[in-house]
Symmetry: C2
DNA sequence: TATTGTTATACTCTATAACTATA
DNA sequence: TATAGTTATAGAGTATAACAATA
């Protein structure tokens, strides 16, 4: 016999299923936590890049986040509409838009950072701190290939 | 100062980024491996459920995989077109379709099972077997909440 | 010619609503 | 009335191609 029909076909045996649904659940948690700040988890990644380091062009932000530059346009359109970021042409290269947090954007990010941390901690609350650290380390190792 | 502008904003600090991109990479690997069999990783999950246990209705398969029944329709349309599964009305309740693997479907699944295992192992090759086991266990614990 | 931002477009995935046939 | 399967539709997410402005 080629397959064991007495064994249950548990989708949780598949690593892809585990990764996908863990991500779905975490995203739902963080989105819910960030909602009152007017952003979601995808926006948070962008704000995080803008809050650290030097002012960057749209393309630089997009590349840091591994998203397409056309996707970046849509994210920034929304954040700019909400008064969280501003775009201005780079005087040194007028093809580029320098993107920066507004004062409101900076405050939003500070609140979002705490909210995101809480959501991630809540998600990880049922596993030991050691297992959570190991999870991050293993996932990083897998992506560093 | 509310944020440390000297720290790099590494997206890999965010668990959501790690989960998403680990899944993207694994899916790309498994899809590539399964391609010569005419299926992808999403089809594989369905075949796996059909290969184990008793013949099931579309809805039962969908629920086991946590996918919507409308999504199941599209997956089965394609698998039936390829001669991998057949649908027949349940004599005991003609609203239901019993879904089964064809002989070709059974052979496809047997080959796919080996291919999927190889792809998953290749993905996990750079981390220790212990870390890989721990990864699965932690993700399961997180989903069992 | 190449690059940045933009727009248009398409393709996948997912969810909802409404329809049909059956119960 | 409720359920299983189907269809239509719409919304996110993502990718490609083409265009305008600038280098």
């Amino acid at each position: 016999m080629s397959t064991d029909s007495s064994a249950a076909a548990d989708p949780r045996d598949l690593l892809g299923y585990l990764l996908k649904h863990a991500n779905l659940r975490l995203t739902a948690l963080t989105d819910a936590t960030l909602e009152r700040l007017g952003i979601d988890s995808k926006d948070f990644g962008t704000l995080r890049v803008l809050a650290h380091g030097e002012p960057a062009s749209q393309l630089q932000v997009a590349q840091k986040l591994s998203v397409d530059r056309t996707t970046m346009v849509a994210i920034l359109d929304e954040l700019e509409r909400k008064g969280i970021v501003v775009r201005r042409p780079d005087p040194a290269d007028r093809r580029r838009n320098i993107v920066e947090l507004t004062e409101h954007g900076r405050q939003t990010f500070d609140a979002a950072q705490a909210a995101y941390r809480d959501a991630e901690n809540a998600f990880l609350a049922t596993v030991s701190p050691r297992a959570a650290d190991q999870l991050r380390r293993t996932l990083r190792d897998l992506l560093d290939q």
